[in-house]
């Protein structure tokens, strides 16, 4: 009888401990899985006419549009655009149609400036964008977009 009760207590305790640990492990996996799913919902795409990207040769600016194609807000203060692999000297951005939060479906108009550019009308350039989402359940996720576009130069 003593052996039976002892065995039951030991195996019951071990089972409870094992189940608790397993639940914790499953919960951690679930959180990571959710984060992974959220990452799938963070995306951005180049919008606008890729064959006519505005290039003001007087102001040395290139204007690009990026569309938030995901399900979460993106950070407008934490992004980088590379033109032919190089970062421009400065950039300004505004959210369209209005506001400051880059919500899903909203455009980010980015005006890049670099006095060192010597692009001609009709020249093709490579655009690379990388940005991050606002914090989602404690995580931030990156979104990238890249494309070859043609410049429409004007002065």
């Amino acid at each position: 009888m003593i052996m039976l009760i002892t065995a039951l207590l030991i195996s019951g305790g071990a089972s409870a401990l094992l189940l608790s640990e397993w639940s914790d492990a499953v919960r951690v996996v679930q959180i990571n899985e959710q984060a992974s799913n959220n990452k799938d919902d963070v995306s951005v795409a180049l919008a606008g006419d890729p064959a006519m990207v505005a290039h003001n040769t007087t102001a040395n600016t290139i204007t690009l549009y990026f569309l938030n194609t995901g399900s979460f807000d993106l950070d407008t203060s934490n992004y980088e655009v590379l033109i032919d692999g190089a970062a421009p000297t400065s950039s300004t951005e505004s959210v369209l149609p209005s506001g400051t939060a880059w919500n899903p479906g909203d455009l980010l108009e980015v005006v890049l400036t670099d006095s060192g550019w010597s692009y001609s009308d009709g020249e093709d350039i490579s655009v690379y964008f990388v940005g991050v989402s606002e914090r989602i359940n404690g995580y931030t996720h990156s979104a990238t977009a890249s494309a070859e576009v043609r410049l429409n130069a004007f002065s």
């Binding site: 039976l4 089972s15 996996v29 679930q30 606008g48 890729p50 549009y65 569309l67 194609t69 108009e109």
Partner: protein, 222 residues
């Protein structure tokens, strides 16, 4: 003695059975949690992959840079009857409009029904407007008109707010701000929308591009 051995064996078997049973319950519980997690994760991914990318086409697009986009009423005149039309006094530009009158028969507002296309503002006349006692003075304002037919060729329904229009790659404009839907704000599969976008100055006249999500389609303006 013999009975004592049997009793001990029975107890051992009983304890062993209980331990094995509990172990199986634990394993079953762990397996259940793991399977639940896998199912939740799988369902999430299936739901995420459920929505296909939008697909659409610009069937045609043309811009007239000498279109009548507004008519100002310098003087409404008097004695007009309703039901007449306002047209250009000469030429084949194609302008046409209707008007409303007040109690004295003065023209108070004009609704353009065909913008036409002109190299300079045409003189306007009122046709079939009765016998006015004083002629109205109407001035045409020229601008740009973009006509385009867009068809949703995909299987998804697109909200007009999700559609962005670009002219010559510039001035991103939300479709819903330049298109007046008859009843709804939705663009259904197979539906063709006729865009009649006019202004005193549109930001481009070479190419039109439309972006929805990661899909962009462009068309020359001719």
């Amino acid at each position: 003695m013999h009975i004592g051995v049997k009793s001990e064996m029975g107890a051992s078997v009983g304890v062993g059975g209980l331990v094995i049973g509990m172990s199986m319950l634990v394993v079953f519980s762990m397996a259940y949690q793991a399977i639940s997690l896998q199912i939740d994760s799988g369902v999430d991914r299936i739901e995420n992959a459920d929505e296909p990318a939008p697909s659409f086409a610009i069937d045609d697009a043309v811009m007239f840079t000498g279109a009548v986009v507004d008519v100002t009423v310098a003087s409404g005149g008097a004695g007009y009857s309703s039901g007449g039309t306002i047209e250009a006094s000469s030429g084949t530009g194609g302008f046409s409009a209707t008007y409303t009158i007040d109690g004295s028969g003065a023209i108070i507002s004009v609704v353009i029904t065909s913008h036409g296309n002109y190299s300079s503002p045409p003189a306007l006349v009122v046709n079939n407007g009765g016998t006015p006692t004083s002629n109205a003075s109407l001035n045409a304002v020229l601008g740009n008109v973009l006509y385009a037919n867009l068809t949703n060729t995909g299987s998804t329904t697109i909200n007009h707010d999700d559609v962005w229009v670009f002219l010559d790659g510039q001035n991103a404009t939300q479709f819903s701000s330049v298109y007046n839907p008859p009843l709804t704000n939705l663009w259904f599969s197979g539906e063709t929308l006729f865009l009649d976008w006019f202004d005193t100055g549109l930001p481009g006249n070479e190419r039109m591009a439309v972006s929805v999500g990661s899909t962009t389609v462009a068309h020359g303006l001719w």
